[in-house]
Structure formats: C-alpha cells, structure tokens
C-alpha cells in the first residue's frame, strides 16, 4: 500500500510506546546462506555444486541430481510476478499490526519460484527487481520491486521495515573527533535526518570542524566520552530516548607492532576506547533503543560501528590497534544478537586506512571521509549488516573468504612503508 513517509509527530504522552513483536526468526542452517548474501546486499542464492541448479528454499539435497553440496552464487536479481495478494488479516501479530501486507510469488529468471515481500506497484505478469533484505528479526527475506519503475522504495512501508533510512530520524555520532564527522553530518542532513547529536570527548580540546558543526541548526554538539561510564550515562539520560540511529565513530589509532614504544599503553587505551567504549554505549543505549524498535514509522532502527578492516585479521604492524578493533568487533556480534530482539540492526562498517595522519605511512589507496560517509549512508538505506569500504577492505574480505590461512599469513606479515 502506498504510504508516504511523514515526519514523526511529537509523542502523545498518554499512549504507550508500541512494543515490538518480531516476524518469525526461525530458520534452518542452510537458509542462512540468504542471510550471508543479505548482510552484504548481494543477490546470491544457493546453487548445487554438482548440477548448478539454483534452489529456493535452501535445501540439503538437490532435487535435480541429489547432489549434497550447495554454494552461494550471485545471480541476476530479476523475475516475473506470478501472483499477488495482500494479507488484510495476517495471523502473526507483527504483520497484523502493519496490515495490509503485500506478498507476491515471483518466478526468478534463474529458476526457482519464491515468495517475496512486494512493493505495492508489483502486479501479476510484471517484471520484478529482486533483493534480499534483512527483516525486523534480522533474518533474510526476498523483496520484489517493480522493474519498470523501480518504485519509490521509501513510500513502501514494507521496505521501510527492512531498511534504516536516516530520513526523519535522529542520529547520534558518538565521537565528533573522528575525521569522517563533517562529511557524515552533511550527508545525513541531506538524507533528511531530523536531528544529529555529535558527541565530543575532552571538550577542552579544540576541534577543527567544531564551528562548521555548530552552524547546522539540526546539529547539537553534546559532551560524550565513551571512555567514561558516567559520561555515557549522562548522555543517555538526557537524549537516550531520542536517538534512532547510533553511529559509533570512536577510534584510537596508534599504529605499531607490539614491541613499538608505549604499545601496551596505546593498546590499553585503544581497547578502552573501542571495545570497552562500545560496551559502555551498549549498556546505556542498547536497552533504550531496543525498547523503541517499533516506536512509529521512524522508530529506533540501527546501530553502526566503524571498524578497521584489520579487525578481521591483523597486520602485526598494527598489533594493538587491530586487537582492539577485533575485540570490539567480537562484542558487536553479541550486541547484534541482543539488539535483534528489539528490531535494531547492527551494521559493521569495515575500512582500510583512512586519510588520518596516523596512517600517513600506509600505502594508497586510502578511504576518504567522503567515501566512508557515503558507504555508511548507503548501508543504512539498504539495511545492510556488513559493509566493506574501499579496495583494502574488499581485498581482505575476499582473501578471508577464499583461504583464511593464506589471508592470515599474508596480511599478518604486511609491513607498511615509512
């Protein structure tokens, strides 16, 4: 059903905040092949390794050749709509609260017939552009959009349930000292964010772009130091219930191997900022956001963490820094599991060296603030879970996928110039 996204009204204090009931979460293990694709925004389906036939639903055994091994293979995201219905009175509460709910049956060009959440313009015999999304329960589902027009995704409330568009939402950027901040603030405002809180630790330290931040009417600079439990608590007390997207930009870059001068202190500081900082944020903001996962059309929706690509496998030349990011990444997966119950998606953004002074000796290509910011925005709009930004992050991802041991050997011994 067409329903434009309206700016949210102020809360009626006499009404209880709508609590989230989730769509079904149960999936077979094989079905998580779809999760893997959806997390990265790919359209990839299980394909029999023996005969090459695609299968939806995910199977353990190929009905064509009885082969027992499947691989995830990218394929054309297109198909033909066979049938359409709109559930007016769905049985499950999640859908009933959001009824009518449009469901379509699509014959994919690559073979299988799939049930999909359908854009309101999808019609029988029409061509559909398909995608795999993560629904409110964090599980993979198909979404069909009309191929001819593409549809206006944001005017489809079903699409909005599966994505985290910043439009009309209030956002917290936890550490305004991260150099991505000015570009990110500009992009989020342009995308229609209603308000952006920018956290700033060590208010007594100057910040080159502080004046630029303060000139936006929708931006509010707030004291926030993720290294301080009290600071985090004080911010959540003031604004916790007004944040729908949290973007954790806290970082503490100190390159060097474990024998480099002061690395024990640097690594401890990095761990405190990244891993413990994330945990402090989670302890304060997690429950508040999870309680607002269904709070209207622009309810709490996403939690973004920025990670070094070396969080996944280290370079020994960044030993302490990579360790801190790995610890934070590990925690983010626990956080993802916890927040899933509240319908909040945790998006992890991995990137290689940025333009920061700290990475001055790292080889090109670097990830500019502009590119990183656009990737965060695209990830939110697409409802992604894992985003790899730039050639280095992509390269590490691919190498880890192809041969984790080779990746470990090669990447851990990478030395950077300088």
């Amino acid at each position: 059903m067409f329903k434009p996204l309206e700016p949210p009204k102020n809360k009626d204090p006499l009404h209880r905040t709508r609590q989230l009931v989730l769509p079904p979460r149960a999936r077979s293990r094989q079905a998580h092949l779809f999760t893997q694709a959806a997390a990265e925004g790919r359209f990839a389906l299980p394909r029999c390794k023996t005969c090459g036939q695609f299968s939806v639903p995910a199977r353990d055994c190929c009905p064509n050749c009885l082969g027992g091994e499947y691989e995830l293979a990218d394929t054309a995201p297109s198909g033909t709509v066979l049938s359409v219905t709109e559930a007016d009175i769905p049985f499950l509460n999640y859908f009933r609260e959001r009824a009518p709910w449009r469901v379509v049956l699509v014959r994919l060009d690559c073979g299988p017939t799939v049930l999909a959440h359908g854009h309101y313009d999808c019609a029988i015999d029409g061509r559909a552009t398909m995608s795999l999304k993560l629904d409110k329960a964090g599980q993979a589902v198909f979404y069909a959009a009309p191929a001819e027009t593409g549809g206006d995704p944001l005017s489809d409330p079903q699409w909005r349930e599966m994505t985290a568009d910043p439009r009309h939402r209030r956002i917290l950027i936890t550490d305004g000292r991260n150099p991505v901040t000015p570009a990110l603030v500009r992009d989020l405002l342009q995308a229609g964010a209603r308000k952006i809180f920018v956290g700033l630790p060590d208010l007594w330290k100057p910040l080159a772009w502080e004046n630029e931040l303060r000139q936006h009417a929708a931006v509010q600079v707030v004291p926030l130091d993720v290294r301080s439990e009290r600071s985090v608590y004080e911010l959540v007390r003031a604004y916790g219930a007004k944040i729908e997207i949290l973007i954790n930009t806290a970082d503490h870059i100190r390159p060097g191997g474990y024998l480099a001068p002061g690395q024990l202190c640097h690594a401890a500081d990095a761990l405190d900022m990244l891993a413990m900082g994330l945990m402090r944020l989670a302890a304060s903001f997690g429950p508040v956001m999870a309680g607002r996962g269904a709070d209207g059309e622009a309810g709490a929706v996403a939690w973004v963490n920025l990670f070094s690509a070396y969080a996944q496998t280290p370079s020994a030349a960044l030993a302490g820094y990579a360790m801190a990011h790995a610890a934070a990444l590990n925690f983010s997966l626990s956080l993802r599991a916890e927040l899933a119950g509240g319908g909040i998606r945790v998006m992890n953004v991995f990137s290689g060296a940025s333009d920061s002074d700290w990475f001055q000796t790292m080889p090109q290509p670097r990830v500019t603030a502009r590119v990183l910011s656009r990737s965060i925005l695209d990830g939110l709009r697409g409802g992604l879970e894992d985003v790899h930004v730039g050639a280095v992050a992509e390269d590490i991802k691919e190498r880890l996928r192809a041969n984790p041991k080779a990746a470990e050997r090669e990447i851990s011994s990478t030395r950077f110039g300088g």
């Binding site: 301080s228 100190r254 002061g262 202190c265 500081d269």
Partner: protein, 260 residues
C-alpha cells in the same frame, strides 16, 4: 597549665581560628590533562567505574574502581618524575621524607598579569619585588604561583592552540634562582604543569621540571584557591599516595591559614 604546640593546633582547629583551604580540584574524568605529542604515552584522565551501588553487584554497598595516571588532576611531582632526578635518593613518593609533606608557602600573585597574557612568565625580578613587600623567601618553603587559572572554563584552562598550550609559568632563571638562592622545597602552580604551556620551546625545555627535580625539589600542579591564601605563611599539607616507586600522585592538598 602547659600549652603544647599540639594543644594550640587542636584549639585552633576546633575553635575555627585556623582556616582550612582546599587547594584541590575534584578528581573528575572531565578535567584536562597534560597533552603530549600523541605518539607518546598520555596522562589519561581519571576513570571511575562503578563496582556496585546497592545493586545485584553489591546489594548493601557502593564503590568504584579508579584508574588514573600519577599525574592526573591536582597532583604531586616527585623528583623521579623527570630524568634529571632519576638517580637521587628518596626520589619517589613512597620514599619521600614525611617532614616534606607539611610545609609553609609563599604565594606569588601573578593573577592580573596572567589575565592580560596567557603566556606570562614569572621572572626573578618579580620574585624580588615580592620579597621587597613580604620578606625573603625562607629555605624549605613552597613557592606557589597564583594565576587565578583555576577559575577558567576547561577550554580556556587548557588553552590549546595549534602551536600547543598557552598557560603561564616560570622562566628558567626564576626556577634556578629559587633553587640556588632560596633552596625552596618545591614550586606549585594552578595550571597543568609547573612549566609554562610553551616551555617545551625554551632554551632549556621544561625548566621547572628539569631543574626542580634535578635538585630533588617537588612540584604541585592544578592547585585551586591560591587567591584565598596569605602571601606568606600558610601551611601546605600535601601528602601524596604511597605508591610503590611512584613518580607522583593525585592528592588532596590542604592549606592551613589564619582567619582573615
């Protein structure tokens, strides 16, 4: 009836004829710390983590875990803090002689000059002028530089610019003179560090740190309320934590002074 010093002190304290002035900032994570080039290890702010607060982690008790560097907040510098004092005897806070922990002080009021110039430097001439008015600085006393810096907002307090901090402090000559000519026990300031913010660029970088500690003298920094002390004679109680091999420590600094 004999009157012992102990009795006099007891009466003064209980009758309120002796003022106690708190020269200490609250130990808080928001309080600025010394900023070194970031590749060096840093004096981290105090971290206060709750262990329990009458809750499941401790139903009837409240306590926190504290983490801080030895040079966080209002703190004490022992000679071992600087390389020049590293080989001196009793140069750490755990070995420091007790009698050095309670000493009288001279307070040099530089507040109006500092209001006009954040980079104000205390010179020998100013010290001599002070002596003209208040008498010679006695050996074994503290010299405390009053700047009223503690009254500033945290941004102005740190006063960080692209070329570093801009805060007042002593000249190399003034420190040399206080050590060699007056044999003070130590030098105290209201700013972050006994040295001026730009002292890294002096002919002898960080002269207060370098010379004071090389001579076995102490430093006190981030003091407050120096404007509430008499020019001379207030008794400074500054007992740092007895940290094993410690180079300094945050501490509660008290001054005892006559009522005005």
């Amino acid at each position: 009836m004999t009157t012992s010093i102990q009795d006099i002190l007891a009466e003064a304290l209980t009758q309120g004829t002796l003022r106690i002035v708190d020269l200490t900032h609250t130990l808080s994570p928001d309080f600025p710390t010394l900023v070194l080039p970031p590749e060096f290890a840093q004096a981290t702010p105090v971290k206060i983590e709750q262990l329990s607060r009458y809750d499941a982690a401790g139903p009837a008790w409240y306590w926190n875990k504290l983490t801080f560097s030895e040079h966080t907040g209002t703190h004490f510098d022992a000679p071992a803090h600087w390389v020049t004092g590293r080989d001196l005897p009793l140069n750490t806070v755990d070995t420091m002689p007790l009698e050095n922990m309670i000493r009288p002080a001279c307070v040099i009021d530089c507040s109006s000059a500092c209001a006009a110039d954040a980079d104000y430097l205390l010179t020998v001439d100013v010290l001599k002028e002070w002596e003209d008015r208040h008498g010679k600085i006695p050996a074994g006393w503290w010299v405390l530089m009053r700047t009223d810096w503690y009254k500033k907002s945290s941004v102005d307090y740190a006063n960080l610019k692209a070329d570093g901090a801009h805060t007042p402090g002593p000249t190399q000559e003034a420190i040399q003179w206080l050590i060699e000519e007056r044999d003070i026990i130590g030098f105290g300031t209201e700013t972050i560090g006994t040295d001026a913010g730009q002292a890294g660029n002096f002919a002898l970088p960080f002269p207060a740190h370098s010379l004071l500690h090389g001579a076995g003298k102490y430093g006190l920094q981030c003091l407050t309320n120096l404007d509430k002390l008499p020019a001379r004679g207030a008794i400074i109680v500054s007992a740092p934590l007895k940290v094993l091999d410690g180079s300094g420590s945050p501490l509660r600094v008290l001054a005892l002074a006559d009522t005005e």
